[in-house]
């Protein structure tokens, strides 16, 4: 038995129009993604980078975290497994691709970090392109964090008060400060302290899985 089909010309016409509109707009859209465009003022950014106003040190970040700075958003842009292995307390994982889509908070202070700092620096540009002004990155990355916060090596000729403040900061994050003989280490102070590489530091760094920056 074959029975005729019931037709609904009105609905069908409506569907056809929807298809035409949907198809035409698709041609216009091109890709099935909403492209996120950004704007950068090249000279302004160049000036900021040259003045080193784009990054902060691990110690500065550590103090911000310890002092519970308002609106601080620490972004870890490494992979899921790397993040699970170890991350800076309070950080959230935000892969670079997410930066295009993430919701921005105008009152926040964003700090990006990666293993070595290169990816974080690239993320910094992406954030600036999206119009965020309150953004920094950790220039030395997690290596710097380990060196300066988790396992700092402090020269023995460093003033006591300074050593105490470093130790307090380190212990707050569960790290371990070590005092090393000043004759074997140059007492050059970079900002607040110097931390030459030692076997222990190298070990800590090795624990952070090596990947492309």
């Amino acid at each position: 038995m074959t029975v005729d089909a019931r037709r609904r010309p009105g609905v069908e016409r409506g569907l056809a129009i929807t298809a035409i509109v949907g198809g035409a707009l698709a041609v216009v859209a091109g890709a099935p993604t909403r492209a996120t465009r950004g704007n950068i003022d090249v000279s302004e950014l160049a000036r900021i980078v040259e003045h080193e106003e784009d990054h902060i040190t691990a110690v500065e970040l550590a103090k911000w975290i310890r002092d519970d700075k308002t609106g601080l958003r620490v972004m870890d842009i490494r992979s899921d497994t790397e993040f699970t292995d170890f991350h800076i307390p309070g950080a959230t994982r935000v892969p670079l691709a997410e930066i295009a889509r993430m919701r921005l908070d105008s009152a926040a202070t964003y700090v990006l970090y990666s293993e070595g700092g290169t990816h974080a620096a690239q993320g910094w540009f992406l954030m600036r392109a999206r119009g965020v002004r309150n953004v920094f990155f950790l220039r030395g990355g997690l290596y710097e964090w380990v060196e300066q916060i988790m396992n700092p090596h402090v020269a023995s000729n460093t003033p006591q008060a300074q050593r105490d403040s470093i130790r307090a900061l380190t212990m707050w994050f569960g790290g371990k400060m070590e005092v090393v003989d000043s004759t074997t280490t140059p007492s050059v102070l970079d900002r607040e302290l110097s931390a030459p590489h030692s076997a222990a530091t190298a070990e800590s760094i090795r624990k952070i899985r090596r990947r492309a920056c």
Partner: protein, 204 residues
């Protein structure tokens, strides 16, 4: 209808329930039918299928299919009847869960079970269930059944070569713009139209 006037309250309730059920089934007539209702517009039914297909993508990240379910059945049957033979044949091991078989296949078996249920439900509510054989006026139903079997065999081979059928490649591949699927669609229509004149007696 006049029978309502003379019906007992229970019967009126019963027909009212059938009325609601049929309404929910988007059929404008009002009861589980005896005479077949007209088919739905193919465009609307097609959009319905498209929405189901889209739901599959959204929920499962995959599309619909059919021929894969047949493969699973055959592979399972061969493994049960002749396990060593099955283990030695790359085609069967592909489907037997050990040789990196795609878990897609079981999903299709469950989907096909659903297809049977859905087809039956739609047929019941529109009065189109009938124990019969659809055949062209010029041939007998026996001839038709033989043709169906042969056609099915040929399609089984074609579907396995192409790794899909009109559902898996045509619909799923079509919507995802897969090159091979669109080649399949064109080739399938071409093959069918080429063979149609030879089969005219069977259908017209």
């Amino acid at each position: 209808m006049s029978d309502l006037a003379t019906a007992a309250p229970g019967q009126t309730l019963g027909s009212a329930v059938a009325h609601v059920a049929a309404e929910a089934a988007t059929v404008p007539r009002t009861r589980v039918r005896r005479e077949p209702a007209p088919y739905s517009s193919p465009y609307l039914a097609g959009v319905g299928v498209g929405i189901v297909l889209l739901l599959a993508f959204v929920l499962m990240g995959r599309g619909l299919g059919a021929s894969g379910a047949f493969s699973s059945v055959v592979a399972a049957a061969v493994e049960t009847a002749a396990p060593t033979h099955a283990a030695g044949n790359a085609f069967y091991t592909q489907y037997l869960g050990n040789g990196g078989a795609s878990p897609l296949e079981d999903w299709l078996v469950f989907e096909i079970i659903g297809v049977v249920i859905g087809g039956l439900a739609s047929g019941l509510l529109t009065g189109r269930v009938r124990w019969t054989t659809e055949h062209g006026p010029a041939i007998t139903s026996r001839r038709r059944l033989a043709n169906a079997f042969v056609g099915g065999t040929v399609m089984g081979i074609g579907a396995k070569l192409a790794r899909g059928c009109t559902s898996g490649l045509g619909l799923t591949g079509g919507a995802t713009l897969s090159v091979g699927s669109w080649l399949f669609i064109i080739a399938a229509f071409a093959g069918a139209y080429a063979a149609a004149p030879l089969l005219r007696k069977a259908w017209r």
